[in-house]
């Protein structure tokens, strides 16, 4: 069965933004921006990942810290671009 978008994003966040050995649990609702897991500079790389993976272009105005603050928020954003 194909992995869901939600799981792909969650796995990417875990693999890319948690240090090796950092065993914090991240769920779909974990605040990743306000929780300090992904900072505002790193958010750009997360945006590039989503754009590349799903062949979309997210305008800067839509790429707010709120829109990226959890995997669920990201999924809501992606739906606006037809990704589900």
């Amino acid at each position: 069965m194909a992995e869901s978008v939600k799981d792909i994003v969650l796995e990417y966040v875990k693999n890319e933004y948690l240090e090796e050995g950092d065993d914090r649990e991240i769920t779909y609702d974990t605040p990743i921006i306000s929780g300090g897991i992904v900072d505002s500079f790193s958010m750009v790389s997360l945006k590039v990942f989503l754009e590349t993976k799903y062949n979309i272009s997210i305008p800067d105005a839509k790429a707010s810290p709120e829109a990226f603050d959890s995997v669920n928020n990201i999924i809501t954003l992606l739906k606006e671009f037809g990704v589900q």
Partner: protein, 573 residues
């Protein structure tokens, strides 16, 4: 909200009468006395009758809150100092690194290290292993305070750090065994030490080692001394206007100089209650924090202010921010639009302040009670002689409105004394009797300074300086990269962000996945600040005939500026 008369007299009057002796007198310090920042910020405040006054209100991103009085500060800094000296055998002058998020242990640990005479080396916790390694190697650091989450980074580089003997974990819960060299220290459970023989440091005893980036070479350790307190105390009082009944919030991370000079020393030497929030940026969270704790004085950064501005004024209205009475900003120039927006949003303007790691304190600023010209840096702090000098002759420029390099007459208390292991570079900062800041500005008819830009290739992103050399070196370690150049490109929020130009090795093709891979490669090695936000793949880079990459050509094109003299350019672009 009480209506305060500013501490500073009208500017011209203050310039005539100001002397650093005012600060010394208020601090009860006489030349030749013992002066220890740790003691001045804790024990001294308790002796002034403020033992039970709150020193720190800390909030984590989950909303968890901790509160510490000045007596807690006094006892806990004693406990930390004793632990370092008696349990670990740390000696005065040893370098002790603080590598933590904005947790209470960072703020209190800072004073504890100073109290026992060691040199405190705060490092930004988002640094990757390579950035961390470079700075710990240069300082031959003996001990490091860190958290579980950052422990893997330290463990990974430990083999290259023979001087590092102690890794102190502040939040060890015993779930996983600690390894060799690692020791747990739980500040909330440690035995309170009521009396400690504070190290008898004097004016020139080294205190803080802050690393700062340059155009070439490795980051430099800017070495401060305990005497810096004289500047930091009085500038916090006069410029930030903090006073006894204030609740102060400095948003800077103590991994950078603002977070220590004004996020620790300035606030606590004045006996002021300060708030700290250990959470990522989110407009509503910030406003909620101000409203909840009734913050009165707020010292932040243009990047944050512009990010708040982006969210608009409607969100501001959801919160009661009537406690605010003074706003100030530092990090990079605060644009006029942001100053004007703050008037609309908060009913008062942000006061821009200018200074650097090397100056240790605010040197040019807008002051409470002084007319603000939106977009201007303000005027020199009384007691500091500042001007702009000609870039070739280093003579002060007399004509108004002409751009030169910002220069300061050495001699104020918090000027760094050297760069660690790098006296040659330190000396090169002085010309014709002036300390050269490396920033360009002009001065108008009324004596206001107007920032123009850096005079070198250093990238100012979100108020933090990032050296292009470090980024380029990291890029070259990626298997696909043949050559690289890093510059700052304009950014509406961060002023500049890193952009990299890359030529690829044979066999590699440019595509978005490779761009992302390279971005993450640099982020993990150095830090998110150093990660290129954009990568442009090019066939060749502009070089001089001797083969040196001409970053200024790339930068000029990016900023739409005149490329200047390209007679030494080797290749067509």
């Amino acid at each position: 909200m009480p209506n305060h008369t500013p501490f500073m007299k009208p500017y011209e009057e203050e310039v005539k009468s100001f002397s650093w002796e005012i600060s010394k007198k208020e601090l009860g310090y006489k030349d030749g006395d013992i002066i220890n920042i740790g003691e001045y910020c804790s024990d001294r405040i308790c002796r002034m009758g403020k033992s039970e006054k709150l020193a720190l209100i800390w909030e984590g991103f989950t909303g968890e809150e901790k509160r510490y009085t000045f007596n807690d500060l006094r006892q806990l800094t004693n406990s930390i100092a004793k632990f370092l000296r008696d349990d670990l055998g740390i000696k005065p002058g040893d370098r002790v690194c603080l590598f933590m998020d904005k947790v209470p242990e960072l703020y209190i640990g800072f004073l504890g290290v100073l109290k026992m005479g060691a040199i405190v080396q705060p490092l930004f916790s988002a640094f990757g292993p390579e950035s961390l390694l470079t700075r710990l190697q240069d300082a031959t650091t003996t001990a490091i305070f860190t958290q579980k989450k950052h422990l893997p980074k330290v463990r990974n580089i430990l083999k290259d750090l023979p001087a590092l003997k102690h890794i102190i974990v502040v939040d060890d819960d015993g779930a996983k065994p600690l390894k060799e060299h690692e020791v747990a220290f739980n500040m909330d459970k440690v035995e309170r030490v009521d009396s400690f023989d504070v190290y008898p440091s004097t004016a020139e005893t080294p205190s803080v080692l802050h690393y700062t980036s340059g155009t070439t070479g490795k980051p430099k350790g800017a070495q401060h001394v305990h005497y810096s307190l004289i500047s930091q105390y009085i500038t916090a009082k006069y410029v930030l206007d903090i006073r006894d009944d204030d609740i102060y919030w400095c948003t800077a991370d103590p991994g950078w100089v603002t977070g220590t000079s004004y996020g620790i020393i300035g606030a606590w030497s004045n006996g002021t209650t300060q708030c700290v929030m250990d959470a990522g940026f989110k407009a509503e969270t910030w406003y909620k924090f101000i409203a909840k704790h009734k913050i009165t004085v707020w010292y932040s950064a243009p990047t944050a202010i512009r990010a708040l501005m982006k969210e608009g004024t409607e969100v501001v209205k959801k919160f009661d921010l009537s406690s605010l009475r003074h706003l100030a900003s530092v990090g990079e120039p605060l644009n006029a639009e942001a100053v004007i927006w703050s008037q609309e949003a908060f009913g008062m303007m942000f006061h821009d302040t200018f200074w650097q790691t090397e100056t240790g304190c605010i040197v040019v600023s807008n002051y409470p009670g002084m007319k603000i010209k939106p977009g201007s840096m303000g005027k020199p702090f009384p007691g500091i002689e500042a001007t702009v000098v000609d870039l070739k002759t280093f003579q002060p420029i007399e004509r108004k409105g002409i751009v030169g390099m910002i220069a300061l007459k050495p001699g104020w208390p918090s000027m760094i004394r050297t760069y660690w292991n790098n006296e040659v570079t330190y000396k090169s900062k002085f010309q014709n009797g002036w300390y050269l800041c490396g920033d360009r500005a002009s001065i108008d008819e009324e004596g206001y300074f107007w920032f123009v830009g850096r005079d070198d290739d250093v990238i100012n992103t979100g108020g933090h300086l990032v050296g292009p050399f470090e980024i380029e070196s990291a890029l070259l370690e990626h298997p696909a990269v043949a050559e690289s150049a890093a510059i700052g490109k304009p950014d509406p929020i961060n002023m500049e962000v890193v952009k990299a130009f890359i030529t690829l090795k044979p066999g590699y093709n440019q595509d978005k996945m490779l761009e992302l891979e390279i971005m993450n490669f640099v982020r993990k090695k150095l830090s998110a600040l150093a990660m290129p936000q954009e990568i442009e793949f090019v066939d060749s880079l502009p070089k001089t005939r001797s083969g040196k990459i001409m970053r200024r050509v790339l930068r000029a094109k990016e900023w739409g500026e005149d490329i200047g003299d390209i007679s030494t350019l080797e290749n067509d672009m």
